[in-house]
């Protein structure tokens, strides 16, 4: 399950979702965006772990944002990632 988008005015982002038993295991977020510090990607990729695949876009965004904390995404936002997550899981 994956969805990809070139964010207008931003970067290309692909969100792949690994899931089992109706729940998210992890995300894999790839693309040519920036994230400072880069290590924060691990937190983002596990932000939805254990959540049902039916989690709403708004709830997914809020979990991603709290995992992001003070780290800074450039060229993509948590809202974009949440939207791509929803598109990926259908």
């Amino acid at each position: 399950m994956k969805a990809e988008e070139k964010i207008p005015g931003g970067k290309l982002v692909c969100v792949e979702v690994a899931a089992s038993g109706g729940n998210v295991d992890s995300l894999r977020i790839t693309g040519d965006f920036f994230l400072h510090p880069e290590d924060a990607i691990a937190r983002l990729e596990s932000a939805l772990a254990g959540e049902p695949l039916t989690i709403s876009e708004a709830d997914a965004e809020s979990k991603l944002a709290s995992a992001l904390g003070n780290a800074q995404l450039i060229g993509v936002s948590c809202q974009d990632i949440a939207r791509l997550f929803r598109r990926a899981v259908g």
Partner: protein, 247 residues
């Protein structure tokens, strides 16, 4: 503020990325802010930190053509580094030397590239997030990371461009799209040589001047400690599939 300037030198891809990291560490430990100019020999493809290698690069074709592939510690996109066709720089200094705002710091350092191109009569402008364009065509891509209180920005300035070779190495799945992309890239990308017919040495001289003008600096090599650390990082990280294929 005394800058150290490391004059143009060519290295393999793994060593180039390892030197950037070794210098970033030495700056974190109190070393001088450093501007470094370099080239890639052999030709190489560098990948952004968050990119998927297999999605972005035809690794078999790269291997067959002797083109190295290395993952950078900076985000951004895949770049084909032609040993003749580009000049690369790194700017490495404590974060306190630069604007805290990331885009503002891109604008500052990219301004040095704009100044450099201006010296050879090429009018360019910074295009956020991280590009420099001439009449809307990209001539320079840049990428930044901040670690341990130290900012590292590296970027490439195109001297000449072989679009066909670039697209034979970067992965574009559909051949029709590839054709379109080659045609499109010729419209979207430019190089110093396409804008001004000047020798590569003159282009480098302008870049050196554009980056150093108004700064106190001394030309120096990397230290023996940095060289040893870079050699270790090149073999323990940048040459390793575990690093390059981690995504």
């Amino acid at each position: 503020m005394m800058w150290r300037v490391i004059d143009y030198q060519e290295n393999g891809a793994f060593m180039n990325m390892a030197i950037d990291e070794a210098v970033q560490e030495s700056v974190a430990a109190g070393g001088p802010p450093t501007i470094r100019f370099y080239g890639w020999n052999p030709d190489a493809v560098s990948l952004g930190y968050f990119q998927s290698l297999e999605k972005e690069v035809d690794s078999e074709k790269c291997a067959a053509k002797g083109v190295d592939i290395v993952r950078r510690r900076t985000g951004g996109g895949a770049v084909y580094h032609d040993k003749y066709g580009e000049i690369t720089y790194s700017v490495i200094g404590r974060e306190s030397l630069f604007p805290k705002d990331i885009l503002a710091s891109y604008r500052l350092i990219c301004g040095w590239v704009v100044d450099s191109l201006g010296l050879i009569g090429i009018k360019s402008e910074f295009k956020p997030i991280n590009d420099i364009v001439v009449n809307g065509k990209k001539i320079s891509g840049n990428a930044q990371t901040r670690r341990g209180g130290v900012l590292l920005q590296h970027g490439t300035i195109l001297y000449s461009l072989d679009v066909e070779r670039m697209f034979s190495l970067l992965r574009v799945s559909d051949e029709k799209i590839k054709d379109k992309m080659i045609a499109g890239a010729k419209e979207r990308v430019t190089s110093i040589l396409r804008e001004r017919n000047i020798p590569r040495e003159d282009a480098y001289e302008a870049i050196f001047e554009g980056f150093t003008r108004g700064k106190d600096f001394e030309i120096a090599a990397i230290s023996a400690e940095e060289a040893a650390r870079a050699a270790a990082l090149a073999s323990s990280r940048y040459a390793k599939p575990e690093w390059n294929r981690m995504r």
